[in-house]
Amino acid sequence: MLTFAFRKLLTLVGTMIGIAALTFLITNVAPGDPARLVAGPNATEDMVATIRTEYGLDKSLPEQFIVYMGELVRGDLGTSIVTTRPVLEEVMRYAPATLELVFVAMFLGIVIGVPLGMLSAVYKDGPLDQVTRIFSISGVAIPAFWFGILLQLMFSVDLEWLPVSGRLPLVTRPPEFVTGLLLVDSLIAGNFSTFWVSLQHIILPAIVLSFPCLASILRVNRAEMIEVLQSDYIVAARAHGISSFRIVALYALKNAMLPTLAMIGLRFGWMLGSTVLVETVFDWPGIGLYAVSSALSSDFKPVVGVTLMIGFFFIVANTLVDLAYAWIDPRLRKA
């Protein structure tokens, strides 16, 4: 178990360094000059040079890379040239918002996707199956940004049921910082009205984010359920008189959960990536929005930092999935 953890950790570190190198190189081949942006429109050449020197941009690319990797090993993600703050600090500030969104979306995806997948497997090729199939594939096919805007128009602008964007109303002060997740923090603080309004704010972006994920969870769960339901041990369970409900909801589901879990892990990373779009539409102050605004101002350290962070969460999620695998599947426990 210890060697397992150690190997995981080693892969994690290796992958992180790989991602850092990859994104650093990609973002730095561009001709863009962020220093000039920061210096302001009228800045003279020597003013731009001041900033370049301050952020080490006057060095050659390989030098910058070595410096960056050196900092990275020490846990320093560099400094954003636009906000002049350490990237790590900013990423940590924005990460809870993103995680909260992703958790809620993932929750929706699992809570709706798994049972629906189960039902359409049981009623395979029936009308319910056809409907969920089109519904779920619509989920993958719908452009998230477009869908988000439609929902905004419908529920916020037209019906005025839900707020247009943001995490909290303007005058509501965020609850005391514990986890950074407003839903959790407000409950800890015992402030139910804040909980309620932050729930209202998160619901639309979470739906948009969860829709494609829900779809693939549903598809995988359905496919696996169909296969498991045809497997020998299910036939045996039927032959031994176990009730259909128990077979489907316990025996088959547990087996079908393995690939579904893998999909959830995969989709977790995908969701983190999609926050780039959803957070833009809903002005959700998370790392996705931070990445987009940084990318648009050629401020690349935050882009690399966010990519790293997403990679990190993704790997962590997949490690958790691996552990869940071992927990569910006794055959893997010895490894």
């Binding site: 561009a30 993958v140 452009p143 940004f145 477009w146 439609l150 990373g269 983190l272 990536g273 050629s298």
Partner: protein
């Protein structure tokens, strides 16, 4: 264990006359008829096929049938800007007075191009690397798979965003960036498939008659990988179009006046909700196209992937 439904061929009749085409290809004909039969039975598959056919048709002849073909090349008519849908302008007009119907239809060609190029590059690179990794093993596989995992650990859209932001906006850069992040999916698919096929007896059998590695890869492994690849490519056509549109939406996509759907929505979103038609139609076009390719892929999976084939 059910009885094998396929009755072995009757060996008693031995005919000396040359066989007709139909007889020689009886097996394939039956197979295709079976596919067609299974495909037709599923409403969603047929819906997908219809959408894809419609899309391909529009991509092929779109510019010939639209009322204002010049709308796609930047003709402006400021006096007719932001007109709601009418008999003159079926989908209304945009902020420069261009006919949205014409632009959406002609945009199909752009989208098709985007989908084909991204999927094509990704598939060629991914299949090649995947098959090599799966068959060769050893350090070759280790290197390929490490790089692949690296790419897979970063969400594609975020990485593509970084690449396009670095290369500068534009449809070519967009396609390039997406192709760069797209191939690892194929590597993983093909590598896994190759690993399992490699263990099949017929591979050993081919080796025992002295087949060289390229022959085995080309004649034995590749054809057996094709089903999931075809399914994935079909789905990816849609997803690539969607991703390109997403980049277009962020403002990194096609340059004006090119009628790319994502870029159209990117502009149109600022005209919401009062000029709703502007974003509705390109959005619907993306949605239906991607839906079509995905439903088609899903239908193909049902008939091509033996795991779900139970009749």
């Amino acid at each position: 264990m059910t009885a094998h439904p396929m009755t072995p061929i009757d060996t008693s009749v031995e005919d000396t006359r040359p066989l007709t085409f139909r007889e020689r290809h009886a097996s394939q004909i039956r197979q295709w008829r079976l596919y067609a039969h299974m495909f037709r039975k599923s409403f969603s598959s047929m819906l997908g096929l219809s959408l894809v056919v419609l899309f391909l048709l529009l991509a092929a002849i779109g510019p010939l049938i639209v009322p204002y073909p010049e709308a796609a090349s930047g003709a402006i008519n400021m006096s007719a800007k932001l007109q709601p849908p009418s008999s003159t302008y079926w989908f209304g007009t945009d902020e420069m007075g261009a006919d949205i119907f014409s632009r959406v239809i002609i945009g199909a060609r752009t989208s098709l191009w985007i989908g084909v190029v991204i999927t094509g590059i990704a598939a060629i690179v991914g299949i090649t690397l995947g098959i090599i990794a799966g068959y060769r093993g050893g350090w070759v596989r280790a290197v390929i798979m490490r790089v692949t995992e690296l790419f897979l650990a970063v969400p594609g859209l975020a990485l593509a965003l970084a690449i396009v932001a670095a290369l500068g906006p534009g449809i070519t850069n967009c396609v390039l960036a997406l192709a760069i992040v797209w191939w690892p999916g194929y590597v993983r698919l093909v590598e896994a498939k190759t690993l399992s096929i490699k263990e099949e007896l017929f591979i050993e059998s081919a080796r025992s008659i002295g087949a060289k590695t390229p022959w085995i890869l080309w004649h034995h492994i590749l054809p057996n990988c094709m089903s999931p690849i075809i399914v994935k490519m079909s789905m990816d056509m849609g997803m690539a179009i969607l991703s390109a549109a997403s980049l277009g939406f962020i403002g990194l996509g096609a340059q004006p006046p090119s009628p790319e759907w994502g870029s159209m929505i990117s502009v149109a979103r600022t005209y919401m909700p009062d000029w709703w038609w502007y974003s509705l139609f390109p959005g619907a076009a993306i949605f239906l196209t991607v839906l079509g390719f995905n439903l088609l892929g899903d239908g193909l999976r049902d008939i091509l992937d033996p795991r779900s084939r139970d009749r």
